[in-house]
Symmetry: C2
Subunit: 359 residues, 2 copies
Amino acid sequence: MKVDEIVVNSSSHSYRIMIGNGIRSQISTFVTKAYSSIFIVTDEHIADLYLSDIQSGLTHEYVYTSILPAGEKTKCIEYYYQLQTEAIKYGLDRNSLIIALGGGVIGDLAGFVASTFMRGIDYIQVPTTILAHDSSVGGKVAINHRLGKNLIGSFYPPQAVIYDVETLQSLSEQEIRSGYAELIKEALISDELTFRAMLKTDLTSLSAEELQEHLRMGIKVKASIVEADEKESGIRKFLNLGHTLGHALEAELGYGSLTHGEAVAIGLLFSFHISESILSTHLPYDQLHEWFKKNNFPLIIQTEDIQSLMMKMKKDKKNVSKMIQMVLLQDIGEPTLRTVTDKDMERHLNSFIGKLVTK
Amino acid sequence: MKVDEIVVNSSSHSYRIMIGNGIRSQISTFVTKAYSSIFIVTDEHIADLYLSDIQSGLTHEYVYTSILPAGEKTKCIEYYYQLQTEAIKYGLDRNSLIIALGGGVIGDLAGFVASTFMRGIDYIQVPTTILAHDSSVGGKVAINHRLGKNLIGSFYPPQAVIYDVETLQSLSEQEIRSGYAELIKEALISDELTFRAMLKTDLTSLSAEELQEHLRMGIKVKASIVEADEKESGIRKFLNLGHTLGHALEAELGYGSLTHGEAVAIGLLFSFHISESILSTHLPYDQLHEWFKKNNFPLIIQTEDIQSLMMKMKKDKKNVSKMIQMVLLQDIGEPTLRTVTDKDMERHLNSFIGKLVTK
Ligand SMILES: NC(=O)c1ccc[n+]([C@@H]2O[C@H](COP(=O)([O-])OP(=O)(O)OC[C@H]3O[C@@H](n4cnc5c(N)ncnc54)[C@H](O)[C@@H]3O)[C@@H](O)[C@H]2O)c1
Ligand SMILES: NC(=O)c1ccc[n+]([C@@H]2O[C@H](COP(=O)([O-])OP(=O)(O)OC[C@H]3O[C@@H](n4cnc5c(N)ncnc54)[C@H](O)[C@@H]3O)[C@@H](O)[C@H]2O)c1
Ligand SMILES: [Zn+2]
Ligand SMILES: [Zn+2]
């Protein structure tokens, strides 16, 4: 199978995204600079599966590793500081490299450490989840604050992304679902044909070729948007389709009880619902709902507290001057931004919850 | 008295540095964007003296304030996180502004918060110490790690610097000394004439005109260097003249027992000492030593532990691959970089300490 290469131009530098089956063993061919030392950051699940492949693939003299607990809770100020401490103790300097080996949690955390260790050193993303196709491209790195997700972070693109689809074979069903919600989102932003093709996918019998093809599509959509709008002043906001409610649900139910993608899936349906009402358009709500259902996405909102949910939607970073701003769809492939008043939002949420229950 | 304006071009944007007597009252004329809210960060000493002037000078609707304890210890992860928490609770969004009202501690801390709050919002420096002429220009923001100074941070230039020399009248003698060590450093990097003129200054009878003139010189030297080398890959390192030993002394004795500038003053003498030996040049060591002495700089190294001091010099961010790199002077106005072996460094340190004691 071939290796796909996508080049992303950021304001500070260009970097390559390599996608291929089994390419983790060639890691040293992608780490081209003569780094003084390398610090691999990963989590306990991934360490068991792929860490030794990466370690033995590297030819550098000084390679250090930190293995953190798996899960969203690791993306916090305490582990951020711990990694800084380890980096100092291992003697990392400005010519050192950090390798983020893992999903979005490791990518965001290790990337944020890289962006602020001695005011910024190089890092490479080695994503091992489908969802991390999103987090490893675009340069957003962050940790969570206890009052909200991703509230502390930077824009800091990696030096390269090395995406080995073979590592995705060990993902749980839930993680596959989580990643595919984001791929669906990218298809929705892209065009009708791509979206229709995605709906033909059966997540329980996914081939490596299909997966690589979908990841390439998702990454291309994301890359072209972040190239046009690196700092999220304009169209980059479109990538937040499904995320206003998605993030609020994650926060409301406690990070971890719903995966990111599962929350985004519900958010995507909500964006259809509210788009149809506000923009008087017609979207394939039923087809999307059915595809999510067939692929075992949990499609209920387990909270009675609409007010608290709305409070959390307001905390979203996209919001300008305390009003809820949402990405809606005029049509598939035509995202657009709208601010919604509290009163309208409450009404839409209530009717949406009702609709979810009856389907 | 006139207002000086210096424009600095950073890779992301240009910003103005305004220097004048009493200009804090015109703060609103410099805050031109329609920010959704403003968050003033300051310390307890400065709050007593100048906070109300800034607050009453701002015409914005939402103005919040955080008053932190004074001192280097405040530049830590705990206050960093506390400010993030306050910013979230006050409802700051991406269109908010942070004003850093204070010395280098507040500037570095509040600037680092601004650089990472929601992946970066605008901030303005309102320096109130002489030393902060240095910290407020160039875009370096940071907090300390317990294992070393400024190890966690970003490059993130402010939107503007508003420097009111009138606020410098309330500085203690020690703070004036501390700031002048850095001005002497900039004169040394600049040229012989500027340096000779600085040596004529008597810090106990400083006029506002003299002060403004010296700050303008220091800022111009610094600004021209950071414009040429924003990310410290080359000549920006020259600004670290006197800082390799300076930082190590601060860390060794515990931050706060020696001011930054007092430590740098000793570091500058050391750079003379070692330059004369390594580069076989002649520098006005005695004149500089005398000027420091006349102006009450503490010129002794209060540690017996040379090994520990050297360990700390190695932790310096400038060091590439575990060797100590130092800025030396070929001549006044001619800084240059050299790596020094451990053995040589130990010898130079011992002879320097001996020289300090006998003068
Ligand atoms: N920076 C961005 O632009 C961006 C975009 C989207 C999401 N994110 C972030 O990404 C995070 C979620 O990412 P995620 O879903 O990858 O979470 P994750 O990193 O926690 O990974 C999910 C789980 O899968 C395990 N895992 C990872 N790779 C595996 C593999 N190959 N085989 C078996 N198990 C494996 C992990 O140990 C973990 O338990 C969130 O924090 C989210 O905010 C960031
Ligand atoms: N970012 C950079 O490029 C850079 C450059 C140089 C120094 N720094 C940092 O700057 C810090 C030191 O700065 P500093 O010396 O300004 O320290 P500081 O901010 O602690 O101020 C020193 C003391 O003076 C008090 N003070 C401030 N303004 C006053 C005023 N107008 N009147 C009376 N008292 C006043 C403060 O409350 C404090 O007690 C260090 O942390 C150093 O690392 C950063
Ligand atoms: Zn997402
Ligand atoms: Zn300094």
